[in-house]
Amino acid sequence: MSLTLKVDLSPPRSKLVIEKSSFDDEKSRHRKNVEEHYFNHKMELFIPGCAELPPSAQAVFDMSDDFYIIKDLPLTELINKDFIENFVKKGSLYMLSHNTHIDKHNVYAVLPTGKLILSVHKDTYEELGLVGQPSQFNRKVKRKFVVEVDLTQDIFVPGKKNYERVKKGFQRTELKADFLLSWKPRGTRQSAGPVLSHFEDSYRCDRRSQVQQTNKHTELLLPVVNSSELEESDDGEWCTAREWYEWLGAVSCGINCNEAPEHYISRYSCPKPNKLTATAVRRSMTGFIAPGRVWAVLEAVRSDMRDNQCPSPWAALTVHGFADSPVSWARREHGFHHGGENLYTLLIFRDSTYWLFQAVGTNDICP
């Protein structure tokens, strides 16, 4: 009987992974976590107790690191032999289609490992003629398919069967998109200029730099956390990790949580116990950020904390991934569903322990 009176009012599932570890631990996965989160669009560093960013972190933020946007780039250009030889194989190339929503459009990405990932709709998939996997998130009704093409394979050259097939498929379907691009040549620290000149002749390219923003807080209440304990204490001496995470979110969104307004409006206030701090600084960077940049910031903050450049008990580094990226961490598939959450926060303590919060939405595989 189709007419059921049961109404499902349960919210969509979500996952929050909280990990506690130490940077010195050999098994620590923080490096992998940072480096495998390929497509980031916002990075935010929050340091309480300082009016200014500590010097080395400031230096990393100020460093210019541009990214490019290429308009209406056909996918056939991505399997161009010159392009693969000169750029894909000679550095870390990050490319992500822009203004494509993963729940509505086809989304393409090039990972620094040389994989071209296409998250395409059923109709496109049937026309494309390349073998892929149905998406993890709607297995029953196969609506999305993920196709992977390894660009760095030795046999992936013109004339070979697989190459020709991919090329024909791209030509037939005439797939194209705006792409965000960032390229780091291996070894040398030169800019990604050559990539731009490669495309400049035939496509509209734009050079962009990240948007920086600094916010200063004064008289802010800080929740007290215990670096060795994630869970609630028996006598309420510190806040739980989850409470802290919510609070940091509130600060990032510019919510004043020092005092709660009347109950009719909101009952949220800074979790207890808390401590007043005179100043705090929040620096953010928005754009297309390569994981290397995030890693540099993390290293800088850690060295600053080691050198006692700032009197803060901890520092928090939050990295937001693209909601429409086809992958979250490494090659784990990512979808949008309700929110497309794809972000992580590192809470760095002075004693080189850290907490890692990985927030993923409904259409995500647990990292």
């Binding site: 916002k42 979110g249 929110g339």
Partner: protein, 119 residues
């Protein structure tokens, strides 16, 4: 090293909403805004629905937009009630739900609205 994985229902859900009146010049203060939400819940889910605790974490009266917090189990109810609202005080209006997330942090950035300046 310790790892906690919390799956399933999140304790709270957050919604980024915008209230739109046909009459663009309408000025709405935070108390009225709260009342609009309560009225919406009242008509859809009755007194039981109106009793649901909804926190307005942040409110901007220029754009009439807000960040709401609601218990996970009531999120679908709230979202539904906001969607069904069409009149307040006999003035046509509508809620636009921009973002929904179980993590408040997710509202700090929205990659879909990012880089619109490149257009």
């Amino acid at each position: 090293m310790k790892r906690i994985v919390s799956k399933g229902d999140a304790p709270y859900y957050y919604l980024k909403v915008l209230l739109e009146f046909e009459d663009k010049t309408m000025a709405v203060d935070v108390l009225t805004f709260r009342t609009v939400i309560m009225k919406a819940m009242m008509s859809m889910y009755g007194e039981v629905g109106a009793a649901v605790q909804i926190d307005i974490l942040k409110y901007e009266d220029k754009t009439i937009s807000a960040i709401l917090r609601v218990a996970g189990s009531n999120m679908v109810k709230l979202w539904g009630a906001l969607t069904m609202l069409s009149y307040y005080d006999e003035k046509p209006c509508a809620f636009r739900v921009h973002q929904v997330s179980p993590f408040l942090m997710a509202f700090a950035a929205s990659s879909r609205q990012l880089l619109l300046h490149t257009e």
